[in-house]
Amino acid sequence: MKVLILDSSNTDLSVGVSIDNKIIYKMSYEAWQRQSEFMIPEIEKAVKETGIELKDFDEILCGKGPGSYTGIRIALTIAKTISVMSGAKLKLISSLRMFGNREKKFIALINARSARSYIGVYDHDQIILEDTILSNEEVKKYIFEHPDYEVYGDLNYLNLKGKEPMIIEGMLSFSSLIKEEENPMSSKPVYLKD
């Protein structure tokens, strides 16, 4: 099974390709506010380097938020378009959950601004705390009270050090737990602030 993996829900841009659960191509870098510029060229590069054409993917795996308002919508719009045009299945994965993988107990964090964070807490296949917004004070308390959890994310805004996520690996890891979108055309991002 051929999977195209896309994410731009936070400050990074990630494009990956997997065949039968093995990553054969990955590209991931910081592209804050330039994701719309680079996403399509990066997909083109992936297609060229892997020799798999867009119409031949069986599945698109895409980040759905929470995260950057514009960022989430860039990858999702492109993923929806490819899915609708090619008939590939579309699976959406939490932009927090993708920070870890199925082998880990972890807390994933993204700066939501105004002294708040997006937080999701996961233990292997289980969701311990569904993605939500908490005040940074609450987040710090949560981290303190759960020392057995690894903490992922760019945590400079909390004056903490978080582990750097492996986005493409994380997304692929969780993909078998996620249901495909029944109607990709009407798939919506998760913003949590609406």
Partner: protein, 154 residues
């Protein structure tokens, strides 16, 4: 802390903006308020100049947000006039307000909940060519700016 400055010409306004502009840093937020035609955009243009931005800074009333990346740091110019009733305000503006550059918001009072720790500037029209700027800081990060301003303000 609060200082007042009376501008009697475009030159005076520019002088004030340059004085503030040279002390701006990544994460600075300026909330500009004052009647239509008070001089919010005019002031913003000189601020942009102080960051080395050469692109013409125009009013973003119809765009809501304009971004300038050709200066010494990113410069974000928001006009919140059309966001007054709170609808359409939820478009991720907080990411540039509490972001990696300088953010100036005309009519900041209209999106108060989103305007993170701003330096407040209220502009009053005195007459055709005169304006009073009231600059209020509630955050120590703007202390350097406020100290400097004492030189030209009362």
């Amino acid at each position: 802390m609060e200082v007042r400055y009376v501008s009697n010409s475009l030159e005076d306004t520019k002088k004030l903006a340059l004085m503030i502009g040279k002390n701006l840093f990544r994460g600075s937020v300026i909330s500009l308020n004052g009647d239509l035609g008070a001089g919010k955009t005019t002031f913003t243009q000189s601020l942009a100049l102080s960051l080395g931005i050469e692109d013409k800074v125009s009013s973003p009333t119809f765009n809501i947000l304009k971004c300038y990346f050709d200066g010494s740091m990113p410069f974000y110019h928001i006009d919140a006039y059309r966001l007054e009733d709170g609808t359409n305000a939820n478009i991720g503006l907080e990411e540039v307000i509490e972001g990696d550059g300088v953010c100036v918001i005309e009519w900041g009072q209209f999106i108060k909940e989103m305007v993170f720790e701003p330096l407040d500037i209220q502009i009053k029209i005195l007459d055709n060519n005169s304006r009073e700027f009231v600059i209020t800081s509630n955050f120590s990060k703007y202390d350097v700016i406020m100290e400097d301003l004492k030189e030209i303000c009362r």
